[in-house]
């Protein structure tokens, strides 16, 4: 009798590439390019595995990060993938939350999308420096808790944190708005000169604030009535 499966002679070995395969392949390529940019940043900035949080260091790291991501075609989803790769992948030699945050901030600030949503609830580490220099017309929403120095130097963007932050949140922010659903740590808003920081939970302590407004549970806590903001 004729083999009724004749047409499928080669079916097992002749895999068809479906559009999803192509998408996944291109995603993988994008992620590996982003990872390479991050590794370059680490090579420049953390040769001795120590990274000191100084404003000049952050500025330098940011400019290196900007160069690293130049020419990469990526989307907000790729940024999220990168965050998870930082946490889980063995491709990353070491995760230092400072440079990682600067690098992610650079990615967000140069992304095509105006609104970026990062689901970071499952990350085991809290990344510092997220939202650094977030420019006007950008909205960054992070689901999960973040680390220190979040939203520093915010430059007109809107940064929503669906979780809690640590110390120095909004430090040196110039304009824009940071909304934190839960709590913040010490030195919140240290050196901020403008913009709004709205916190749904509690703030452990404020830093030396120059300007702008800080709300805690719908109450304006800076500037207080009768207390003038710092002026240099």
């Amino acid at each position: 009798m004729k083999n009724p499966f004749e047409a499928f002679h080669q079916a097992g070995v002749r895999k068809r590439e479906i559009p999803l395969d192509k998408i996944l392949k291109s995603k993988e390529e994008t992620l590996s390019t982003i990872l390479k940019g991050y590794e370059d940043l680490l090579k420049n900035e953390a040769k001795d595995l120590v990274w000191l949080m100084q404003y000049s260091t952050v500025i330098k790291a940011y400019s290196i990060a900007e160069k690293g991501i130049e020419g990469i075609e990526y989307t907000a989803e790729d940024i999220e993938e990168f965050c998870y790769a930082l946490d889980h992948s063995d491709q990353i030699p070491y995760l230092i939350t400072g440079p990682a945050g600067v690098y992610i901030s650079a990615l967000c600030n140069h992304a095509k999308e105006e609104e970026i949503y990062l689901h970071l609830r499952d990350l085991t580490v809290k990344i510092n420096l997220l939202g650094y220099r977030l420019p006007t017309d950008k909205k960054l929403i992070v689901e999960g808790n973040v680390g220190d120095f979040t939203g520093i130097g915010l430059d007109g963007g809107e940064f929503i944190i669906e979780g809690s932050g640590k110390n120095y949140t909004g430090a040196g922010m110039k304009r824009g708005r940071i909304i934190v659903r839960h709590n913040l740590g010490f030195n919140t808003g240290h050196g901020m000169t403008g913009g709004e920081l709205i916190v749904g939970g509690r703030i452990k302590g404020l830093g030396k604030i120059v300007g702008g407004k800080i709300y805690e549970r719908d109450q304006l806590i800076f500037p207080h009535e009768g207390i003038k903001p710092f002026s240099f």
Binding site: N3, F5, A7, F8, H9
Partner: protein, 447 residues
């Protein structure tokens, strides 16, 4: 759209009928093109020599759509088509449908059959087939199926024919179409109401002379069909008149039908069109669901499977009867015809997804419990076609979920059938059981 020689002619026919004779909305979309399903399927029936059952309310163009397609495609003047139609009614007889004794010859003691026009010409239309009593439906079984018409001791075999039958919805004057007859139809299609706006303009430009009529050629064709010559000779003569009518259509209406050689060429082109691997596997999956029974080995209309079967979620659990071997033939013929019409290189899943509901709708006998469950659902199609469309999409969804694995399973099936020592793949679908049966892994249940 490409510009194949024959396809351009067929598209011209479609356009002329849809613009002038059968005004209706496009209701199907394939590969970005919109068509009216009744017209599209009637044309496909005409070019692939199929059998189509057209249902619908009275006066919605069931018969006329078939008449127009048959007349232009086969180049028979409308008067001949009308004169060859069979009407379904309780008093219908074999003598009116197939043929009668030649009374003059009979008086001389000789038996000779005068064949009806219906039995002779390649465009066969049975109007209101479900008004034929069930006992009389059996008379046309063979003719419908094979084009063999028998009367007394004579037989007339049509070498090509297309059959269009119309049926009204059930009322006091209708009968059930018997299962063997209904299975012989390739497709079921509904001639729908065109909508109030199109309905309003129908008949506005009615003229006394129908553009598809030609009294002179009609007379000549009637004379040929009535004549004493052998059938083959009559058909050759008729083809000559049809050619003249074809020239007339081309000159006056810009329409080009197909002569017999062209129709044969089209058929040869169509059968050359292959199914791609995906479509092949998808159709097998559909056939498995329509014929498999875990408990009784295969579906049988006299054996009803019970609740609690592992395959409760599959179509086999919702239907009573088994898919006949005519089903895959209908799928193949119509899918090839559609791919040919659209000038695609092969038959793909889009083609069969459009075809399958129409080849299934009249063939599936659903369980009453399933019908009760589904009858209240909102829909645009007649219940039978709606259920078949839903079923097709269900199978398609299952196919998408299991595609890679199924192709592997079929490939393993090939190797096992060829004698290689391989373990067949297990899977959660009747098709995997069928593969195992084919390669002899699963023994038939002991009696």
């Amino acid at each position: 759209m490409k510009n194949g020689y024959y396809q351009t002619k067929i598209r011209g026919i479609y356009k002329y009928i849809s613009d002038n004779l059968y005004l209706n909305r496009p209701d199907v979309e394939i590969k970005g093109e919109h068509f009216n399903s009744t017209l599209l399927f009637s044309l496909l029936t005409g070019i692939n020599r199929g059998k189509e059952l057209i249902i619908g309310e009275p006066g919605l163009g069931k018969t006329t759509s078939a008449e127009y397609v048959g007349s232009i495609l086969y180049r028979y003047p409308l008067g001949v088509i009308w004169g060859s139609e069979v009407s379904g009614h309780p008093e219908q007889t074999e003598e009116k449908i197939i043929g009668r004794p030649h009374l003059g010859e009979l008086n001389k003691g000789k038996e000779r059959v005068v064949w009806s026009n219906f039995a002779q010409i390649p465009v066969k239309i049975v109007d209101e087939i479900n008004r034929l009593p069930e006992t009389k439906q059996s008379m046309i079984l063979n003719g419908v199926d094979r084009g063999n018409w028998e009367y007394l001791n004579e037989i007339l075999i049509n070498d090509e024919y297309s059959l269009f039958a119309t049926a009204n919805y059930q009322d006091r004057g209708t009968n059930t179409i018997i299962a063997p007859l209904i299975d012989r139809f390739d497709v079921l299609i509904e001639s729908r109401h065109p909508g109030s706006n199109i309905a309003y303009i129908i008949g506005k430009e009615a003229s006394s002379n129908h553009p598809l009529r030609h009294p002179q050629y009609e007379k000549e064709l009637h004379q040929i069909l009535r004549g004493d010559k052998p059938y083959e000779e009559k058909m050759t003569l008729a083809e000559g008149v049809c050619n003249l009518f074809g020239d007339y259509l081309k000159e006056h209406l810009g329409l080009e039908g197909l002569n017999k050689d062209e129709r044969n060429n089209v058929n040869e082109e169509m059968v050359e069109i292959d199914f791609d691997l995906d479509t092949n596997a998808f159709v097998r999956m559909a056939l498995a669901e329509l014929s498999f029974c875990h408990k009784y080995g295969q579906k049988r209309s006299v054996e009803v499977c019970e609740e609690g079967c592992h395959y409760t979620g599959y179509l086999c659990h919702h239907i009573k009867n088994c898919a006949s071997n005519r089903l895959p033939i209908s799928i193949r013929n119509y899918a090839q015809a559609l791919a040919w019409f659209l000038e695609d290189d092969g038959v793909d899943i889009e083609h069969v997804r459009l075809i399958i509901p129409h080849v299934l709708a009249h063939r599936i006998q659903w369980k009453d419990s399933y019908l009760s469950k589904k009858e209240g659902e909102g829909r645009n199609d007649p219940f039978q076609i709606y259920l078949a469309k839903e079923a097709t999409e269900e199978i398609f969804q299952r196919y998408n979920e299991q595609r890679e694995y199924l192709l592997d399973a079929l490939s393993v099936g090939y190797r096992a059938f060829a004698g290689e020592e391989v373990t067949p793949l297990e899977g959660d679908h009747p098709i995997y059981e069928e593969i195992k049966k084919d390669i002899g892994v699963k023994d038939e249940k002991p009696l």
